[in-house]
Symmetry: none
Amino acid sequence: MHAEIIAVGSELLTSSRIDTNSLFVTERLNELGIDVRAKAVVGDDSNDLAALFRQALDRADLVILTGGLGPTDDDVTRDVVASVLGLPMTENPEVVDRLRRRFESRKLKMPEINRRQAMVPEGAIVLDNPNGTAPGLLIVAGTRRVLLLPGPPRELKPMFERVLSEHLAPHAGSRRFYRRVLRITGRSESHVEQAAQPSYQVWRERRLPIDTTILAAFGQIELHLRVSADSRADADAILDAAARDLHLAIGPDIYSDDGRLLEQVVGDLLVAHKLSIALAESCTGGLLASRLTDVPGSSRYVERGIVAYSNRAKIELLGVDEHLIREHGAVSEPVARAMAEGIRQRAGADIGVAITGIAGPDGGSDAKPVGTVMIATAGVGEPAVRTFRFFGDREQVKFQASQAALDMVRRRLVDYHG
Amino acid sequence: MHAEIIAVGSELLTSSRIDTNSLFVTERLNELGIDVRAKAVVGDDSNDLAALFRQALDRADLVILTGGLGPTDDDVTRDVVASVLGLPMTENPEVVDRLRRRFESRKLKMPEINRRQAMVPEGAIVLDNPNGTAPGLLIVAGTRRVLLLPGPPRELKPMFERVLSEHLAPHAGSRRFYRRVLRITGRSESHVEQAAQPSYQVWRERRLPIDTTILAAFGQIELHLRVSADSRADADAILDAAARDLHLAIGPDIYSDDGRLLEQVVGDLLVAHKLSIALAESCTGGLLASRLTDVPGSSRYVERGIVAYSNRAKIELLGVDEHLIREHGAVSEPVARAMAEGIRQRAGADIGVAITGIAGPDGGSDAKPVGTVMIATAGVGEPAVRTFRFFGDREQVKFQASQAALDMVRRRLVDYHG
């Protein structure tokens, strides 16, 4: 089965917006063994959309259109699809009712324009939208299926999950794509590639060959492995073996081979060892704490965090010796050490982590250019401190610093046998 | 002038890769007043590419194809374009020579397959590629221009900059696009739309009509205005008037009309009033501090932040009365108030902000379901506290809570004449 995806919305043709829905949709389709053959983005223009939609119908068994289901004149998807397929539209009273109740539950009167969202092409299945006003639509036209989904990801995702399991999975064959993502810190893209290359060769000659993609981002590298197989067991055997090859070639720089993010890996290690953590951040400004607390259940191990931007806060809240700051500067290894030890002791936590540095764009010097960051850990083994030099803008420096801090904690916990 | 962009490459149809070249290309084209009408991603398949390319040629004055210019059989872009346009291809000896020298400079022999990269459609202008082996191609076919660029961003970008200035800008005319973004908090998309609708009508009938796009995300709405004009002054006059219309219709829910984010607006207000701020966060886990410190220069006004996840941290670091927590619970208005006042006093800051709530997925109750968040401010006027109920997952609740807190501070500072 082949699918095509058309994202509708003039905003997606600007340089500030990107169609991320198609990534999610592609991933789920691939899991069902459905290949995405092409994807397109088109503005809120009926003629352009009609031309693209006609062409997609020629090629694909499943055409998925996202966006353009809102209540305004800009929202053309419903009308264009109905007109290309030659289906008359009528107002669906149940949908009107549901919309009205949705507004009433918020003590609002439904604006009249929202009635447009209740227009349904003949024979279409209406897909309920618990997170928004725009219902989705599924149309079966001969051997083709056409699926209309709302643009906002939080509306699209749960709706698409339901359509997949209720309407698409039953028609997909037994061949599925199975994926494995390995995440790596502390190496450059070319070093990962060089280490992995010999494995690629071997995998390509297997009965079920593995597709690989390498993705480099600030602070981490991802290796995506994909295999097409008849069962999860077949795929797992192959992907497990491939992951083992990579663990041998790359070693502990691989922090996850099951899709977990670094903050989750660290959280799981803290839970496993029954340890608590406390954070003292200067240049990352709370990003490290925020990432750790993105993980559900993190209140079990995150005791507290201090954003000590000012020297006064470093002295008062972390007990850093004023003379240490005067002698070495706030961005220095001795101050990072003192911050980590200070937060650990004051919080009564098992591990203290401290970050101090120059995120930029100002504040750099020849000796300590923008991107210079010191990270220290205290507790669970010997205290440690490292100096990093990151590249990129302020937000990129902040992210890389938080990533390096998490990785220092991870390596410490992996080696810990409490 | 209208452009379409086609990205070629099967790897761009997986869930892990995204076509970022088109964002860069779009931004540069828009600056020249060239509109991007549609964009597409297609695999390394000659038939699919030919169909898409034909359709793009029908609609656009400029078709830009990226990727598929490598030396292997997978690289079909050159052949497809030449065949659709009916242009014979010949090997260009200069390109062969350049390729050979490139390999020799690295002490390598040019592989024979790389000769494919020297095949040039009749009449095409060859675009030198200093960062890779694939030359670009520019073909003028009647009133249409077709541009072939290599896929790797570091090869595409410098090549595209040169083509723009040497070949496209001279034909672009004086008309350019000018944009204005208005950002709004505290209203739903349909309420913004309803308030703005009468203005849309008026703008559409002007000599230089304004294009509008509304973008709704958690915690904010964006209105993008775009006008095509002969000069910056013409555009500014129109966009300034439009912004005034919207300020009248929507009022102080508009927090920015110059592209600034909410954290920047709050930062600028703090600087203007020479005020400092300190933050006490529970459920947002440092996100509010991290967002405020994303702004360059924020060390001037962010005195400190405390992530007080545990009750012990709330008591020790913020001076919250233990009995208050016992009586009302940690997620309550009295505790939020006490946290805001506590951080303000201890930090010696002008403004204290506190957030306490239930980010989920666990921890909710009937009385305080997941998404319940109390936000308090202290200092600069009467203390204030509000209870919110946000929807979405943990990260979305965190973001909305940080957004609401920033907005409470903003409204307080806008009214402040201290």
